[in-house]
């Protein structure tokens, strides 16, 4: 009975797909998606500085060969860009709620 937990864990780990390190192709795909979202935000004149920083961090990590970090930073940039797009869309009407009348 005492052995059942370690055995179960071994079984789970052996069945789980092994996490592999990100490669350059993963980074390029993640970066392209993030960059597209960032360009969309910039087109709406609602770019965030943190998106630009995250994209720069992704490029820097990729230049250093750290594709895990580059993919993570790209995904962060994508999430930030999407949030800024959401903000720009919602503020098209929401600003009126703040207006002094």
């Amino acid at each position: 009975m005492k052995l059942s937990l370690p055995l179960a864990m071994l079984l789970v780990f052996s069945l789980a797909p092994a996490a592999r390190a990100a490669n350059e192709a993963d980074y390029k795909a993640a970066y392209a998606t993030a960059e597209a979202a960032s360009k969309e935000a910039a087109g709406m004149r609602n770019q965030w500085t943190v998106t630009v920083s995250a994209l720069a961090a992704a490029r820097k990590a990729a230049d250093g060969g750290d594709f895990d970090r580059a993919v993570a930073a790209s995904k962060e940039a994508e999430a930030l860009a999407k949030a800024s797009i959401f903000q720009a869309i919602s503020e098209k009407e929401a600003w009126k709620a703040m207006e002094i009348r």
Binding site: A42, W48, E91, W95, I100
Partner: protein
């Protein structure tokens, strides 16, 4: 059954009355009415801060805090913008290579006119700020334009503001749909949240004037541009209106627009118009 019908008819009647009463207001709210907007804007601040003299709003955070005001008044005996003022006066009177000066580009030789900027240029169909007009003057006379966020522009506008000190802001909105659109666009920009911090200009300068944001006391939006340009201790130097907008955007973690972008020109138009009647106090000094 009869009671139910009566109740239904009564509810319908009440709904129709409510609709009739609210619908004109909706239409009125969507119509661009700068006069009503300015009145509401001023009243908001006058009611929120009943002890502040109306003309004192142009002194920004000093109108909100007595201790700061006393310190500032002492500092004004040897104001930190004095060097910029002297430099601006010299620059203003120094001829360009073609022999002309800034005075040739402006009405009344550029003296005592700051309160009329920005204005709506009906030929161009856009708002023209003082900073923009100064650079256009330079370019028209074969000179390279100055940076909108650096000392030269701040010095020139400081001198021009000084010659208008005490004059009431006097911004006109001509009967031109493009001018009304520019005003509305400026208003929209002022109230729109941006940046990762999700702040609008109004978040600080309408909702929280007099409150602290970190070590600073926030200035009221009313009359905030009357003191421009300003010497900021935080910057250890002078700052133009353009620099102020760019910095505000960065502080909310929004990528700033290019100086003198249409949005910045329009928000300057909006903020200046609602401050009509309040005196020019620039150049100013801020912590």
């Amino acid at each position: 059954m009869r009671a139910r019908s009566a109740l239904l008819l009564g509810s319908l009647g009440a709904a129709l009355v409510a609709f009739a009463l609210t619908s004109p207001r909706v239409v009125a709210a969507d119509k661009v009415d700068p006069v009503a907007d300015a009145k509401a804007f001023r009243n908001f601040f006058f009611q929120k801060f009943p002890d502040v003299k109306h003309e004192d709003f142009v002194n920004g955070p000093y109108s909100m805090n007595e201790d700061m005001k006393r310190q500032w008044q002492e500092k004004e005996e040897f104001p930190p913008y004095e060097f910029a003022l002297d430099a601006g006066k010299e620059m203003f009177s120094t001829p360009f290579k073609n022999g002309k000066t800034y005075a040739d580009c402006f009405p009344n030789g550029g003296i005592g006119i700051r309160q009329t900027y920005p204005y709506f240029d009906e030929k161009e169909g856009k708002v023209v700020t003082l900073e923009l007009a100064l650079n256009r003057c330079r370019e028209a006379n074969g000179e390279a334009p100055y940076s909108y966020v650096k000392d030269e522009m701040a010095s020139l506008t400081a001198y021009m503001a000084f010659t208008s000190r005490g004059k009431p802001m006097d911004i006109r909105i001509p009967d031109d749909p493009r001018a009304l659109a520019a005003f509305e666009n400026g208003k929209r920009y002022f109230y729109t949240r941006r940046g990762q911090m999700n702040f609008s200009c109004a978040s600080c300068h309408v909702q929280s004037p007099g409150e602290r944001i970190r070590a600073e006391i926030l200035a009221p939006a009313l009359g905030i541009l009357n003191a421009m340009p300003i010497y900021r201790s935080e910057w250890s130097g002078m700052g133009t209106t353009s620099r102020r907008f760019v910095t505000c955007n960065s502080q909310t973690r929004a990528v700033p627009l290019e100086p003198q972008a249409d949005e910045y020109r329009d928000v300057e138009y909006f903020l200046s118009y609602v401050a009509n009647g309040l005196p020019i106090s620039g150049p100013g000094a801020r912590p």
